[in-house]
């Protein structure tokens, strides 16, 4: 029996691959699927008694702890 070879001729395979990846003129390239939204870190490990968790943080640019007096405060 004349079995068709399982393996294609490397040259033919190369042509097929080029066909697969090449784009027709005026054809938009394939777009990547929409990115899945990042997991909301607020809800990661959310204790069951909470309905909602909001986060915030503050980076202090001034670390001076000396007092800043407000002129006139308490003088009246």
């Amino acid at each position: 029996m004349n079995h068709k070879s399982h393996f294609k001729n490397p040259d033919d395979l190369k042509i097929e691959i080029e066909k697969l990846v090449s784009f027709q003129e005026n054809e938009d390239p394939l777009k990547p699927p929409l990115r899945a939204k990042d997991e909301n870190p607020d809800n990661r490990g959310l204790p069951s008694k909470y309905r909602k968790v909001l986060t915030c943080s503050f980076v202090n640019r001034t670390t001076n702890t000396t007092s800043t007096k407000r002129i006139g405060a308490g003088k009246d």
Partner: protein, 255 residues
């Protein structure tokens, strides 16, 4: 006793207030916002809820009940409250907030916080921001993070967790924030006393010997001369600091 109006069980489970209860002169401020409990510790069970929490950091936990009125003409203007808070604590504008709370409210955007349920959550979140800002301002913390956790039931209850370097400053910040927000929710302005309290706490924090002072007279004299404040004004501030757990004065404080 004030009557409480409750919604059907399938709706928001919160205590609402009638218009009469919100009468300008008769409404008890403490009922707006009440600190139920304050504790201090590591709270590892919630450490993963804010990726900015520093590993192993100590935190202040504040359990809070918020009951704002739901009436036709709702007097709690959150944008106005934000503006007044920023005037008191300008660095609030530089906070990183997952909800863009200060950006949205300051710009007067409506929508996400027009519902009653979101309003109380936003007020709780504001309180967290105020605590963070006060602590950073007073102790000079390089960074401070926190979370506001709204309960499923009761709906008006919140746990605030805020990184805390100094327990006494944390307690002061929580009580101060509650006091400020109660006034602002009641559409009252902040007197110069609030500004002075921040300055005084910052001054005392930076002067350990004064902070440990338990006798009233020498402490009041030094503060009076340092700031140029009248003795009666200094005494009223010291009484607040004692009430807020920041000072431990032996001598009775009378204002």
């Amino acid at each position: 006793m004030d009557k409480e109006i409750t919604r059907p069980a399938d709706k928001i489970n919160t205590n609402l207030l009638t218009r009469d209860q919100f009468s300008k002169n008769g409404f008890p401020l403490k009922d707006f916002l009440e600190i139920k409990e304050i504790s201090y510790g590591g709270f590892p069970e919630i450490s993963g809820l804010n990726p900015r929490f520093k590993p192993g950091s100590k935190k202040l936990k504040v359990v809070l009940d918020i009951r704002v009125p739901e009436i036709e003409q709702d007097p709690t203007d959150l944008s106005l409250i934000v503006m007044k808070l920023i005037k008191l604590l300008p660095s609030l504008e530089r906070h990183q907030c997952g909800e863009h709370l200060f950006e949205d409210l300051k710009s007067g955007k409506k929508g996400s916080y027009t519902e009653h349920s979101d309003k109380i959550t936003n007020i709780a979140h504001m309180m967290e921001h105020v605590i963070i800002d006060l602590q950073s301002n007073i102790t000079g913390m390089n960074s401070c993070s926190g979370i506001t956790c709204g309960y499923k039931d009761p709906y008006f209850r919140f746990d605030l967790f805020v990184e805390c370097k100094d327990k006494k400053v944390g307690m002061f910040s929580a009580f101060f924030a509650a006091d400020v927000l109660k006034r602002l929710i009641a559409n009252k302005n902040l007197s110069r006393r609030y500004y002075a309290l921040i300055d005084l706490t910052k001054y005392l924090y930076g002067n350990n010997s004064l902070q440990r002072q338990t006798e009233l007279d020498p402490l009041a004299s030094q503060i009076g001369s340092e700031f140029g404040w009248k003795r009666s004004f200094v005494l009223s501030l010291l009484k607040k600091l004692k009430d807020f757990g920041f000072l431990n004065l032996k001598q009775a404080l009378a204002t």
